[in-house]
Amino acid sequence: MRRGLSGINLAALTLGFAFLYIPILLLIIFSFNESKLVTVWAGFSTKWYVAMVENALLLDAAWMTLKVAVVSSTVALVLGTLAGIALARLGRFPGRTLFSGMVYAPLVMPEVITGLSMLLLFVALSWARGYWTVTVAHITFSMAYVAVVVQSRLLTMDRSLEEAAMDLGAPPVKTFFAVTLPIISPALVAGWLLAFTLSLDDLVIASFTSGPGSTTLPMKIYSQVRLGVTPEINAVSTVLVGIVSIGVIAASLINKRAMVIREREAQAADP
């Protein structure tokens, strides 16, 4: 490991990290700035965090975002898992190609198109835009990600595990809950976290589908920035960065642990 870290590697690593993280680092540093000017350092202070907590509008937006993210990622997990199972396990059924194309479409569809089409749908149905329309829109695009994660895990899973459970007397539904689900659970957690973070930082689709009283945090930040940046925004962003980092780190730890276990099993398999 150490030997690999020659001068040029070190430089590349430093530059890479700098390119990726200096903007975020600056944002975090200036959230502790005493001055109201975002670019001039005037000493350490946590007053913008206090201001953030006292800003009811901002907190409302954060709460709204959290509600949307939790509900949409949970529903997306269920629907996406079902879609993943259909794609990985049902074999060839009439319309499979169409179905798989339609499941994956939201992955490549420009967000503006998704947002606009959702908006047109809600208008056509004359649904009042608000919390539920944002949530439904988020479910629509994030379930595709869950479906991909679940399907790829199911495809690498040994089919004979499910056959063994059925052979031992477990009907298909029992087999799914007793064997399939526990084995693919790391993929489910990863899928949920992915859907959660996607929902958390979505601006475009939320802008199209939200209504009065259902402003999400990214929308709030975006509209405030247009009026002028205050370090309060930096403070909110820092908190968001923290939450997303924790989510991403948790997801990768869960995945890594599952991989280590699978590797150990594979090693034990060949003597």
């Binding site: 031992l168 007397g169 276990i261 034990a268 398999a269």
Partner: protein, 371 residues
């Protein structure tokens, strides 16, 4: 041989079963009767349909035609989880998130067996496979041989009427595999369950099974005891698949008493073989098969006029310790293999490479095959 396939009404009857996948016919009109308590092997190269047949018995594939009857009950009507049949998978398919006990108890839990009985039966079956000390381990904490035993225990614990074993020993190394073959036979005799094993390994099938069905491209080539399969193969395919064999092509000349005489260029006095009931008529093209260990090799010629005698030159000698294999080139250029047991140390009167030798074998050692 314990089983007597003719005596008892068939325990498992496979009746004209076929399985087609699209345009491919994996199993083609197979009919078999398997007796209660029998250790039956389905043997064949990969892709011969043996695993598909096993999976139809387990319920993972549906026959395209034909019927599977277990004690007279049609299995087709039952889904895999209702069949009184258990399977041991080639990959073992142990549930990675459960301990050894959890894996073995899984089947009993599905049947809502009382807790105390589950504990007792799991302990009993783990003792049978000599895994009692490892009950709380997870599959990834076990060696390959131990996993194989867990898989066996899990498929035995429900006391199925029929146990299916899909290449159960393929993942073990040679030494362990041979040892496990004998353990498998001992366990089968103790539990008295009918075993159907699928294997591509002829030695394994010969060792463990009471009867073997040799399969070729979806069809049954021959069903017989291991010794009958070896000593009286009914086709060239079976003769060549099981063990080594020398094949001579010729023309049937005359049926002489109980023997058929065959004209063949390398044998001056012709070849002789016991006639078969469905034996060929004079003038038919036939094949004659002889196992290498039945061919005597000698420096001097047998009396003139002896059938089954040929001469040639030793081109290679393979020394295998217990036996030596001689490759002899006949005058026609055809190579014949003869195996001789090395009874004496450093063999007295040894035959060297390049030596002119005479080959002969008794009439009964010849197997007549149709071309």
């Amino acid at each position: 041989m314990r089983a007597n396939p003719g005596g008892e009404a068939a325990f498992l009857r496979i009746e004209g079963v076929s399985k087609r996948f699209g345009s491919v016919t994996a199993v083609d009109d197979v009919s078999l009767d398997i007796a209660r308590g029998e250790f039956f092997a389905l043997l064949g190269p990969s892709g011969c349909g043996k695993t598909t047949l096993l999976r139809m018995l387990a319920g993972f594939e549906t026959p395209s035609a034909g019927a599977l009857l277990l004690e007279g009950v049609d299995l087709a009507a039952l889904p895999p989880y209702r069949r009184p049949v258990n399977m041991m998978f080639q990959s073992y398919a142990l549930f990675p998130h459960m301990s050894v006990t959890g894996n073995v108890a899984f089947g009993l839990r599905q049947d809502r067996v009382p807790r105390a009985e589950i504990t007792a039966r799991v302990e009993e079956v783990l003792a049978l496979v000599e895994l009692s000390g490892l009950a709380r381990r997870k599959p990834h904490q076990l060696s390959g041989g131990q996993r194989q035993r867990v898989a066996l225990a899990r498929s035995l614990v429900k006391r199925p009427k029929l146990l299916l074993l899909d290449e159960p020993l393929a993942a073990l190394d040679k030494k362990l595999r041979e040892q496990t073959q004998f353990e498998l036979m001992a366990i089968q005799q103790r539990v008295g369950i009918t075993f159907v094993i699928v294997t591509h390994d002829q030695d394994e099938a010969m060792t463990v099974a009471d009867r073997i069905a040799v399969m070729d491209r979806g069809r049954i080539a021959q069903v017989d005891t291991p010794s009958a399969i070896y000593e009286a193969p009914r086709s060239r395919y079976v003769a060549e698949f099981i063990g080594d064999v020398n094949i001579f092509e010729g023309r049937a000349r005359a049926v002489n008493g109980g023997d058929v005489m065959v004209e063949q260029a390398d044998a001056p006095a012709g070849l002789a073989a016991p006639a078969r009931a469905d034996g060929p008529a004079a003038g038919d093209a036939v094949m004659l098969a002889v196992r290498p260990e039945k061919i005597e090799i000698a420096p001097g010629p047998p009396p003139p006029g002896t059938a089954n005698a040929m001469a040639g030159e030793v081109t290679e000698i393979g020394y295998l310790g217990s036996v030596s294999t001689y490759r002899v080139r006949l005058d026609s250029g055809k190579t014949v293999v003869s195996t001789q047991t090395n009874r004496l140390r450093h063999g007295g009167g040894a035959i060297d490479r390049g030596a002119r030798v005479h080959l002969s074998w008794p009439v009964e050692a010849s197997i007549l095959l149709r071309s």
